[in-house]
């Protein structure tokens, strides 16, 4: 048993080293004075100051945030509906097609999704005059479409694991379906909706390929900007930009994790207290 633990432990160490050495190296070299991105030339925060005074980067970051906020919100609404439909309604016309359409964007190669959506937008514009050119709208629609699937999966698994008797009890006590939805179901799946929203938000912030197909000439999101720059090679200001993004994500994920963990514990405590009070 002991031998195997050592084997597993070293695999674990190797795996995490594999995950984190490149990221740590990037963070380290973002404080590099040298213009050569991977040769140490002394400590400096120069690249961060250059980044903050670069209007293109700031504009791209703001555009990315805007698209991510809108598409994550739309994706959460649509994905929650899809997850509920799949978890609660056993039979409806086209259920097989629907469930296929919901799960397909999860594994579809992005090149195919991006190309096909671009063609849709081109032909829609030709037929009905909308969307007028490609830009923020088309990118937002594309992001909503692929990220709603992730929300649907999260919400659906929450609903499947959830006790349906609460909803049934409310129905038996005379609540209308709409009341049950707003008073019971939605509050219970709220944590899943929050994590779904966060997932959709980061997926949108991160997307290169689908954005690259569906954006117009003026729509440069942050990943598109980075993509354009790193095609030409490794540069120190991208190290700095990467460090900022990694830091923001790490802090955000940690805070979200702690908050959700606490909410979950509070919920469990409430349930236990309710059970204890009823005895």
């Amino acid at each position: 048993m002991k031998q195997r633990s050592i084997f597993l432990l070293s695999c674990l160490l190797f795996g995490y080293a594999f995950f984190y050495i490149p990221i740590v190296s990037m963070i380290f070299f973002s404080f590099n004075k040298s213009r050569l991105a991977t040769v140490w030339g002394g400590f400096s925060t120069e690249w961060y100051w250059r980044l903050f005074s670069n209007d293109q980067v700031i504009a791209a970051a703001l555009l990315s945030l805007k698209i991510a906020l809108i598409s994550a919100t739309l994706a959460t609404i649509l994905g929650t509906m899809a997850g509920m439909a799949l978890a609660r309604f056993r039979r409806f016309g086209g259920r097989t097609l629907f469930s296929g359409l919901v799960s397909a964007p999860l594994i579809m190669p992005e090149v195919i999704t991006g190309l096909s959506m671009l063609l849709l937008f081109v032909y829609m514009e030709q037929l009905i005059g909308w969307p007028n050119g490609r830009g923020v709208t088309t990118v937002t629609i594309a992001h909503t479409t692929f990220s709603m699937s992730y929300v649907a999966v999260v919400v659906r698994s929450r609903l499947v694991s959830m006790d349906q008797s609460l909803e049934e009890a409310a129905m038996d006590l005379g609540s209308k379906p709409l009341q049950v939805l707003f008073d019971i179901t939605l509050p219970l799946i709220a944590p899943a909706m929050v994590s779904g929203w966060l997932l959709a938000f980061t997926l949108s912030l991160d997307d290169v390929v689908i954005t690259n197909f569906t954006n117009g000439p003026g729509t440069t999101t942050l990943p598109i900007y980075i993509w354009g720059k790193i095609k030409l090679g490794v540069t120190p200001d991208i190290n700095a930009l990467g460090t900022i993004i990694v830091a923001v994500v790490a802090i955000g994920v940690t805070i979200a994790g702690i908050l959700m963990f606490r909410a979950e514990r509070r919920r469990e405590r409430d349930i236990q207290q309710a059970i204890a009070a009823n005895k």
Binding site: P109, I141, G242, V253
Partner: protein
């Protein structure tokens, strides 16, 4: 709408005939409308923005490139399109080579992900309490961090004058190298770089489903086998491994399918002379402006992936049931 809601609504329709109009509408809203809305809104969205694009891409793959806006034309009479683009793909070594490269790179990367990811998932599943949460968080964290930046971070390490490359070169020069010493090991823009990049980027997709499967396994089985005299490796081979096959398949498909169509990693780290098929689609579309051929390549790629996608769905739905 009527088709979608066909299976329910019989009782509410009967009720609404007997009650006044106002209440009937309210009841219809309570019983049926919300249910229809919940199903129909995402359904219609996906039909327009996900299914329709695939029908369009299929239709365009049957057309011909033309100097027009959009640059596609169809024959004037029945059957309007032809399979010429597919014949071209099947006969031209550029396209066939692209598919082969994609399949080979994706397969090798999937195997590496499995070899690295399985012991990690097992170790996480066997750990307890806060340690397990921390280990899981450390796997999920890179998954939330920008994909592009993680690829970029490896580009930094692999480049000729980086500490990583120089360190490996030093080790190589002092151990295995019997020829003249190298200045640097050429690692960027090689097949090795692409496989490394894919393995690195998709590793969390392998670890997480494997962890989900391994975590559910009943450890009393292992104890029983140990009591009956099995050695740890035999327990693993006879119990843990067979029981984790659904996780292995789900994780492998989750890596293999998107890796086959990967565009970013081969464009940044790969060789230009042996592109993966994702890059071929992109070049055909944006450089050559041959939309029909690009569409046909995409449709053929999708057909190639139908079998893995079906395997994935099968194991995914089985995992959902349990």
């Amino acid at each position: 709408m009527a088709g979608i809601a066909a299976s329910d609504g019989v009782p509410s329709a009967r009720v609404s005939e007997e009650v006044p109009v106002g209440r009937g509408f309210r009841q219809w809203l309570d019983r049926k409308a919300w249910r229809d809305t919940i199903i129909a809104t995402p359904f219609i969205w996906l039909l327009i923005f996900f299914l329709l694009p695939f029908l369009i891409i299929f239709a365009i793959s049957l057309g011909q490139a033309a100097i027009a806006q959009p640059p596609v034309e169809f024959a004037a009479e029945w059957p309007f399109g032809s399979l010429d683009n597919y014949r071209l793909i099947a006969s031209d070594s550029l396209y066939v080579g692209g598919y082969l490269n994609s399949l080979i790179y994706a397969t090798i990367s999937t195997i590496f992900c499995l070899l690295i990811g399985y012991p990690m998932a097992l170790a996480i599943a066997r750990s307890r309490g806060p340690t397990r949460n921390l280990l899981l968080l450390l796997v999920i964290l890179p998954f939330w961090t920008s994909f592009l930046l993680r690829v970029y971070a490896w580009m930094g390490l692999l480049s000729n004058n980086s500490w990583f490359n120089q360190g490996l070169t030093w080790i190589y020069n002092h151990t295995l190298n019997f020829g003249p010493p190298l200045n640097a090991i050429p690692m960027m823009n090689t097949d090795f770089a692409v496989i490394l990049g894919i393995t690195y980027s998709y590793l969390p997709f392998m670890v997480l489903p494997l962890y989900a499967t391994l975590e559910r396994l009943d450890l009393t089985l292992n104890e029983a086998a140990m009591d009956l005299g099995s050695r740890p490796f035999e327990v693993f081979r006879d119990i843990t491994l067979p029981l984790s096959i659904p996780g292995i398949i789900a994780g492998s498909m989750l890596v293999f399918i998107p890796a086959t169509g990967e565009l970013v990693i081969p464009s940044l780290m790969g060789r230009a002379d042996s592109p993966m098929i994702g890059r071929v689609i992109n070049d055909e579309f944006s450089l050559n402006r041959d939309w029909p051929v690009a569409s046909a390549i995409a449709v053929a790629l999708l057909l190639l992936l139908v079998v893995p996608i079906m395997i994935y769905n099968h194991y995914q739905s089985r995992a959902d049931v349990t």
